[in-house]
């Protein structure tokens, strides 16, 4: 069975609640069959609205959503066959875990034996076989979450939507649940659309991430590309940590450019700038700038250490560099005896291809 390229397709979708503000603007998004796509963005960016439109709880103001090439805007939620995991689990508190899982099967009038088989299988999948007779209230948060996942999968939906499902869990549990959901996805190959505002979660779990801001998809790409090659300064700022310099292009040629700052000049990689005189924001990941670089690097600057914070596995160093007093460095904690002391002047170097000249903020 070949995987369909555009199994879920948002086609020019607009959404407005009050007729004044567009919450979602001209959204185009194709999701492959069996893919794990995360919608990532700050709150109010429209990602949950997109999910609700896909689930059928909201209707697009304009445009159409296709599921397996069928327009679904006029199909009510209960006929879409899309599983959904809610932020607060939404387990039915008056039913046992077994009854919760059997609910989607019972409304589909599946025979009793099949229901038992499927529910047992789903419970085994989330390793909760022993808990069928418990009430949801008797389970811990993580267990409830696993029940919610099992319930969304038990009726073999073609797509499963997850709306910040791990938001209520503590950090350790959240991490282990991330891997669990990822493994479940890998083993059954269901298409997952996942919504979160937690970038760590998105980077860990997804095949592709759609970064939302202001009702628009800013960038849709794999986690590594998103982190390494952000296409605009919002994505660069939102994903991971980021050092920025605001300046103006003074020269551009052969895939590199010179950026004139208030104090000094740096060489950068032109991403969204084309001509001399354009304003730009240059973005450099903290781990790409090195102290006392051994190899030859095309950017070498001196900076003054303003703050040192010990983080266990690494040390965060805040520098004043080229007039930017918020320049962050992450120094791995090794036996190397680096001269990291408050007030010291140190040499900093980075490669120009890691300094991405993006749109001005």
């Amino acid at each position: 069975m070949s995987k369909k390229e555009d199994f879920v397709k948002f086609d020019k979708v607009d959404k407005s609640y009050d007729g004044k503000v567009l919450v979602v603007k001209d959204l185009n998004l194709d999701i492959k069959e069996g893919e794990f796509v995360t919608m990532l963005g700050p709150s109010g960016s429209g990602k949950t609205t997109c999910l609700m439109m896909l689930a059928g709880f909201e209707t697009p103001t304009n445009g159409e959503i296709y599921l397996d090439n069928n327009p679904i805007s006029n199909i009510p939620p209960h006929k879409r066959g899309i599983g959904m995991v809610f932020q607060n689990y939404a387990l039915f508190p008056h039913m046992t875990v077994f009854e919760n899982l059997a609910f989607p099967l019972r409304v589909r009038k599946i025979s009793k034996e099949d229901i038992e088989k499927k529910v047992d299988k789903a419970l085994a999948m989330v390793s909760l076989s022993e808990f069928g007779n418990r009430m949801p209230g008797q389970l811990s948060g993580g267990q409830q979450q696993r029940v919610a996942v099992a319930r969304a999968l038990v009726f073999d939906p073609s797509v499963v939507l997850m709306d910040e499902p791990l938001g209520a869990l503590d950090k350790n549990l959240r991490e282990s649940m991330q891997y669990e959901i990822k493994h479940i996805h890998e083993s059954i190959g269901v298409t997952v659309v996942y919504v979160t505002h937690d970038q760590g979660e998105a980077l860990t779990m997804s095949n592709r991430i759609a970064v939302f801001n202001d009702g628009k998809v800013q960038q849709l790409s794999s986690p590594d590309k998103l982190y390494e090659e952000p296409v605009n300064s919002f994505v660069a700022e939102f994903i991971g940590e980021n050092n920025t310099f605001a300046g103006e292009i003074s020269d551009i040629s052969n895939g590199s450019c010179k950026v004139k700052l208030d104090k000094g000049e740096i060489i950068a990689n032109p991403i969204s700038v084309k001509s001399v005189g354009e304003k730009t924001t240059v973005s450099i990941r903290p781990e790409r700038a090195l102290i006392n670089p051994k190899d030859k690097m095309d950017n070498n600057q001196k900076g003054k250490i303003e703050e040192v914070i010990y983080h266990g596995d690494h040390t965060r160093v805040r520098l004043n560099l080229l007039g930017n007093s918020e320049f962050i460095l992450k120094v791995p904690n090794s036996s190397q005896n680096l001269d990291i002391k408050l007030g010291n002047e140190i040499d900093i170097g980075w490669n120009s291809r890691d300094a991405r000249a993006l749109d001005p903020k």
């Binding site: 387990l91 039915f92 409304v107």
Partner: protein, 417 residues
């Protein structure tokens, strides 16, 4: 295991349990002192009156106290034939005192309850006894009226000998113990109380049902609307609640009477002819309409408080799992509102079963309830013991309903807010 736990000592070497008790004793005393005023208030205003009501309803000392000598003499009498001379003499002496003290009327009324026609016999005796000579009272009394020769009348006196009686309770369900001491029903044309009891239950049941049917959608709307609309709606629900009961009932009288607004409207839209206006007041319809409106907030508020806690994502979850909106409602939403339904229904039913003012004003003859009968006996016939008996029967009925409810739904499931 238990021996191990007993060994646990606190750092001072005192057994842990003991030191825990000691530590908490002060708090317990404080807590008790805090609730004492309320406890006393409850005892004085609630328990004591009910106890008083109960003692009134079974108290029958009045006759016993008025005829002390008679009852003493009657102890030996088996009640088969006319009593011996001593009983007649004792009765004459007791009665003489009553006539002298001008309290004979009470005895006449009480004994007339027991045996019809006793009053006139006693009145005649009161007039004639002044001329009685000493000795042979049996002959003299029997001469006053031939009924004194009928053993039934003497048995009637003897029946009132016990200081306590349950006859008021029997009367409350249209029964009495006849001359032979058997419990029988009163004649069919006098069975008024049973009609009232069943009507009270019927009205309470249907008012609860109507309230439920109307309150459920309102409460749902209240719980799901955005704040600014739901606040307005809440005020609409509560505003009548804050209005005086009498005002509300009176406004229903204005609306429902034959020349009232509702009837005018019906005539205007041509639903009924002008000369054939339906009677919507002074019957059960009026009672239903007014009571449903007045008790509605008691149903809306518990339902609302429960619905407010039901996450809207549960219905969404139901739908996303493939349930039609109707199935999702009945399988997911409705079961979760049962605690509110239980609380609301219990509240409305119990309030309705003892409702007084509204049925009294708009109920007419066919719309009055048992509480109106109780009030009638309190105010008009002054038969307080009977009123007390019926009041207690009402209270028992409410407790029975509560007990049944507890068995069916479980009181733990009630949620009043």
């Amino acid at each position: 295991m238990s021996s191990e736990t007993q060994k646990i000592l606190s750092t001072d070497g005192i057994p842990l349990e003991e030191s825990l008790k000691k530590a908490e004793k002060k708090n317990k005393i404080k807590a008790f002192l805090l609730v004492t005023p309320l406890l006393l208030f409850l005892i004085i205003t609630y328990i004591v009156p009910i106890a008083d009501m109960f003692s009134r309803s079974i108290d029958d000392k009045m006759v016993t106290n008025m005829l002390p000598k008679t009852y003493k003499a009657m102890e030996q009498w088996d009640g088969k034939e006319l009593p011996p001379e001593e009983v007649f003499e004792a009765f004459y002496l007791d009665y003489k005192i009553l006539v002298k003290n001008k309290t004979a009327g009470k005895l006449q009324t009480q004994l007339n309850y027991e045996k019809n026609g006793f009053k006139s016999v006693l009145k005649k005796l009161a007039r004639k006894q002044k001329k009685f000579e000493e000795g042979n009272y049996k002959e003299q009394i029997m001469k006053v009226h031939k009924r004194w020769r009928n053993v039934e009348y003497w048995r009637a006196i003897k029946r009132r000998a016990p200081a306590y009686t349950y006859s008021k309770y029997l009367k409350g369900v249209d029964m009495y113990s006849n001359e032979d001491g058997k419990i029988v029903q009163v004649s069919e044309d006098r069975r008024i109380h049973r009609i009232l009891w069943s009507r009270t239950l019927e009205v309470a049941f249907f008012v609860t049902l109507f309230c439920f049917l109307m309150a459920y959608p309102i409460a749902h709307l209240l719980a799901t609307l955005p704040m600014k609309y739901s606040n307005l709606l809440m005020i609409c629900v509560l505003l009548p609640f804050w209005t005086s009961l009498l005002v509300r009932t009176a406004s229903w009288m204005i609306l429902l009477q034959q020349q009232g607004i509702v009837n005018d409207f019906f005539v205007w839209i041509g639903l009924v002819a002008d000369d054939n206006r339906p009677e919507m007041m002074y019957n059960k319809t009026g009672t239903y309409v007014a009571m449903t409106q007045i008790l509605l907030p008691f149903m809306v508020l518990p339902l609302y408080s429960v619905m407010k806690t039901i996450s809207p994502s549960l219905m969404r979850a139901g739908k996303s799992l493939g349930a039609t909106p109707a199935v999702a409602f009945f399988k997911v939403y409705f079961p979760l509102t049962i605690p509110g339904i239980g609380a609301g229904c219990l509240l409305v039913f119990i309030l309705a079963i003892g409702y007084y003012i509204t049925p009294a004003l708009v109920g007419g003859a066919s719309g009055t309830l048992i509480s109106n009968q109780i009030a009638y006996h309190m105010k008009s016939t002054l038969d307080w013991s009977f009123a007390s008996a019926m009041g207690l029967m009402l209270l028992t009925g409410v407790l029975v309903i509560y007990w049944i409810y507890n068995k069916l739904v479980g009181v733990d499931n009630i949620k009043l807010g």
